[in-house]
């Protein structure tokens, strides 16, 4: 087993990420004090687009999560894939994703935001499809791409509408948009984008499918960062778009449905990673719901839970990777009594699961109290949140107890904790969840308070604490634990019941499958109808369309025909050359001999060269003549190897198309001659060729000096054509 990447380099991305994290930490005091460091570089000044970034409380908290968890994940991935030859590309793509995500959460310009948003979509597509040799991974990656990219298009439209409505391309300068006439459309588009990205119902199914990704990727993208981009967007725009009937009506039901679907189907899973994916849906739904409620208390709960969730969920994902590495399976029915063999893993999972279950003294408990306090006003909501949380308690119990207690079971005969590189990240994340719970002021002052300030546009009132007194929230917490315990004790029965019911339930994925099937069907039909594979029919269509375009322009546009006075009278030589060229064309068309045809083609070219000479284009004429010589040489060489075409059968349709195009070309040239010539460029060249560019041959000066960039492109094309032709010729054919 050899290292895929040299040890010194393997941890470079993690170190870079940690340095970025340290950099953002150094900005915390400024942001906590109410500042918002801003960086704006001109990008497309003509359109008012800037590469603008701004760090307020929300952006900074996300930036800390992205870089901090990013550093731990990169460290973990470097060990997880240590001997895999794809490690280099994984680290590169993960780093690219991290930068993109950092751009999303710090962008202040609408276009900048969109560009980074799309970059996260593309990099996550690469990451989900990391095992690209597996069909399932490719399908899952494509599904995630299609859904999130479709959301991205909605986002683009929404952002442009917002920019035009607000008259500002800065997120920080949008102002309240709730009263504008475009508001419903803007909100609809933004909500589609956010729901697609954050896997809200009815787009939720891509997230469990995306578990085809390797564990470090899932831990990073599908719990801590990317799926929270949608939540971030909603939180970011809450001051501009929030707190209307439409906002409540869209976010609360979708969030609640996603939350309940996620919580219920998490119970159904035996694969721990899949279970975590479904519980992530629960968490994302809950955050959407809370942002939908939108009261200051709900916003506090949302941002608090966001922080808690990022810490424990990333930790649990990584811990599942530890279990898989150490015991050989991540399916809890294969595992048991691992606590003695894997003490570090056991502690990590227990700590993270306790945060997930909302037990004191973890930050998860603080967050849950906030959630209950925020949803108390509505009985239905309270009920939904209690049920979902109780299911989370059961899931947490499952993850924390099943693999580690009970009868010994392990596919790996000698299970044990994996290497330190795989331990560090989960340990840090689990301990942070406990530490912030014991010292809630820390989380409040540094993260939750500033985040709340950004989203609610007002400072946080009240304080976070473990003890809120004997109130309704505490009662609900106790009820949650009791219900959760009940579910846990009946887990196997519930799971089997869900498994039995699954085939009878409508699949929400069905609309996606139908849509894709329809799309492919339409594409196939169009391809079958238009792509015959016959080059001649493509040419016929191309020329026919060209003819229609030429005639369309000629027949619809106003045309000034040239008067005879504008045209130069033809001399005898003009007539003679024209006659020779026309005769040569006729010979090429009619000749049965290849040699005659090639000679006649040379006649056509030489005649044209003569016209160039007569009318002052000496350089062009010389070029044309030498090219003509070479064409004859080349065709002569090739002729020996190509069969004579013999008599070409007359094809009426082709002749018709060709005639229409030819006559159109003649008429078009005459029509152009009727319009006055704007000599501004030619006059400039004539006036400046010698004084400025020190050349008397103006054509040459244009080529190598005034328009040198064009010529550079052209000689590049010549080289490319030569390389391509030589490659084709050198290639051996069957």
């Amino acid at each position: 087993m050899t290292d895929a990447v040299a040890p010194g380099w393997r941890h470079l991305p993690a170190v870079a990420s940690a340095l970025a994290f340290a950099g953002f930490v150094s900005l915390v005091p400024a942001v906590v004090a109410g500042g918002a460091p801003t960086l704006a570089l001109p990008w497309v000044p003509a359109l008012g687009v800037e590469a603008a970034f701004r760090l307020d409380g929300l952006g900074l908290a996300f930036a800390l999560l992205v870089t901090g968890i990013g550093a731990l994940i990169l460290l973990y991935a470097a060990s997880y894939f240590r001997t895999d030859r794809r490690l280099g590309s994984l680290l590169l793509t993960l780093s690219a994703f991290e930068i993109a995500m950092l751009g999303v959460v710090t962008a202040d310009d609408l276009v900048t935001l969109f560009v980074f948003w799309e970059a996260t979509t593309i990099t996550s597509w690469l990451l989900v499809g990391f095992d690209h040799e597996r069909g399932a991974a490719r399908a899952a990656a494509l599904q995630a791409l299609v859904i999130t990219a479709a959301g991205g298009l909605a986002l683009l439209a929404g952002l442009l509408l917002m920019g035009m409505t607000a008259g500002s391309w800065r997120l920080s300068g949008l102002g309240a948009l709730q009263t504008s006439t475009a508001y419903p459309l803007i909100l609809g588009l933004v909500v589609v984008a956010a729901f697609a990205k954050s896997a809200q119902w009815p787009f939720h199914f891509w997230l469990p499918n995306a578990m085809a990704a390797p564990t470090p990727v899932s831990a990073y993208l599908h719990s801590a960062t990317m799926v929270k981009a949608g939540v971030y967007l909603l939180a970011r725009l809450a001051p501009n778009l929030g707190d209307t009937a439409l906002w409540h009506g869209l976010l609360i039901p979708a969030g609640a449905i996603t939350m309940l679907i996620g919580a219920v189907w998490a119970l159904r899973q035996t694969d721990l990673k899949l279970m975590l994916a479904w519980t992530t849906l629960m968490g994302l739904g809950l955050m959407t719901l809370l942002l939908g409620v939108g009261t200051p208390a709900a916003i506090t709960a949302a941002v608090g839970f966001l922080l808690v969730h990022a810490l424990y969920k990333a930790g649990l994902f990584l811990a599942v990777g530890m279990i898989e590495k150490g015991a050989g399976s991540r399916n809890y029915t294969d595992l048991g009594a691992l606590a003695r063999a894997m003490p570090v893993t056991t502690v990590v999972v227990t700590l993270a699961a306790a945060a997930m279950a909302g037990l004191p003294p973890f930050l998860g408990f603080v967050a849950k109290e906030l959630i209950y306090a925020a949803t108390l006003g509505n009985l239905l909501l309270t009920l939904a949140v209690v049920v979902a949380n109780a299911l989370m308690v059961a899931c947490a119990g499952m993850i924390a107890l099943r693999p580690f207690a009970g009868p010994p079971r392990s596919p790996n005969p000698t299970p044990g904790d994996p290497v330190w590189g795989l331990r560090l990240g989960p340990v840090v994340l689990a301990v942070l969840g406990l530490g912030f719970g014991l010292l809630p002021m820390l989380a409040e002052n540094w993260l939750i308070g500033p985040m709340h300030h950004s989203v609610a546009a007002a400072p946080l009132e009240g304080h976070l604490g473990l003890w809120h007194g004997l109130g309704l929230p505490l009662g609900l917490s106790v009820a949650t634990w009791a219900l959760g315990l009940g579910i846990y004790l009946n887990l196997n029965r519930l799971r089997d019941g869900l498994a039995a019911a699954e085939p009878r339930l409508p699949r929400t994925e069905a609309w996606y499958d139908a849509l894709m099937a329809g799309l492919f069907g339409v594409a196939r039909a169009i391809t079958a109808a238009t792509q015959t594979g016959r080059a001649t029919s493509y040419l016929r269509v191309t020329f026919a369309v060209l003819a229609v375009m030429v005639w369309g322009a000629l027949l619809t546009g106003p045309i000034a025909w040239p008067s005879l006075a504008q045209l130069r009278a033809a001399t005898f030589i003009d007539w003679a050359i024209t006659a020779i060229v026309l005769a040569s064309i006729a010979i090429v068309l009619r000749s049965r001999s290849r040699l005659t045809a090639i000679a006649a083609l040379g006649g056509v070219g030489s005649g044209i060269a003569f016209i160039f000479i007569l009318y002052g284009a000496t350089d062009v004429a010389m070029t044309q003549l030498f090219v003509e010589i070479l064409v004859v040489v080349f065709l002569g060489l090739a002729m020996v190897r190509l069969p004579t075409a013999g008599d070409l059968p007359f094809r009426r349709l082709n002749a018709l198309v060709a005639a229409a195009l030819g006559i159109g070309a003649t008429v078009a040239v005459l029509a152009v001659l009727g319009t006055p010539l704007d000599p501004v460029l030619s006059t400039f060249f004539e006036a400046n060729s010698y004084p400025e560019a020190h050349g008397r041959n103006i054509v040459n000066v244009i080529l190598v000096d005034f328009r040198g960039f064009d010529t550079l492109g052209e000689i590049s094309v010549v080289v490319i054509a030569a390389v391509a032709a030589i490659a084709v010729l050198k290639r051996r054919v069957r």
Binding site: M622, T623, F634, L637, N697, V704, D705, G708, A722
Partner: protein, 141 residues
């Protein structure tokens, strides 16, 4: 195609044509000619050798591999661009050091270097394809 007269004639003609092509290229800045025309003319000379004495003789006469010539040509054009780019901050900006120093109108500077690039690209590309075509055809025999 082994005409004795053609074979003999090429020995005399080709050096003359190549020399002439270079003259055509050099005078191109002030009179008809230039890199495109000169390069095509030189390529014609080597086509002539290939016709008269075979591709191998033409290859020997050319000394360098055609695509290397084309690549050097592209490099000349790029170098000309960077010359102006570095000295004056504008890519492809014309530089005439001799003119500025002595007032001489001899065509020496970044623009003639660019045109030399064109000459070499055309010569290299055309002869390259010509030789490849000849090889491909001989392969069949």
């Amino acid at each position: 195609m082994n005409s004795l007269i053609l074979t003999a004639a090429t020995r005399v003609l080709v050096p003359v044509i190549v020399a002439f092509s270079f003259v055509v290229f050099m005078r191109g800045h002030n009179a008809p000619g230039g890199g495109f025309v000169g390069g095509l003319l030189a390529a014609t000379a080597f086509a002539l050798i290939a016709k008269a004495r075979g591709t191998d003789a033409a290859r020997r006469a050319l000394h360098f591999r055609p695509l290397s010539i084309a690549a050097i040509g592209l490099a000349c054009a790029l170098a000309s661009g960077f010359w102006g780019g570095i000295a004056r901050g504008q890519f492809l900006r014309g530089m005439w050091p001799l003119l500025e120093a002595t007032g001489s109108h001899l065509p020496l500077g970044s623009i003639p270097l660019f045109d030399l690039g064109v000459y070499l690209v055309v010569l290299g590309a055309v002869t390259g394809i010509l030789f490849a075509l000849d090889d491909a055809i001989e392969e069949d025999d």
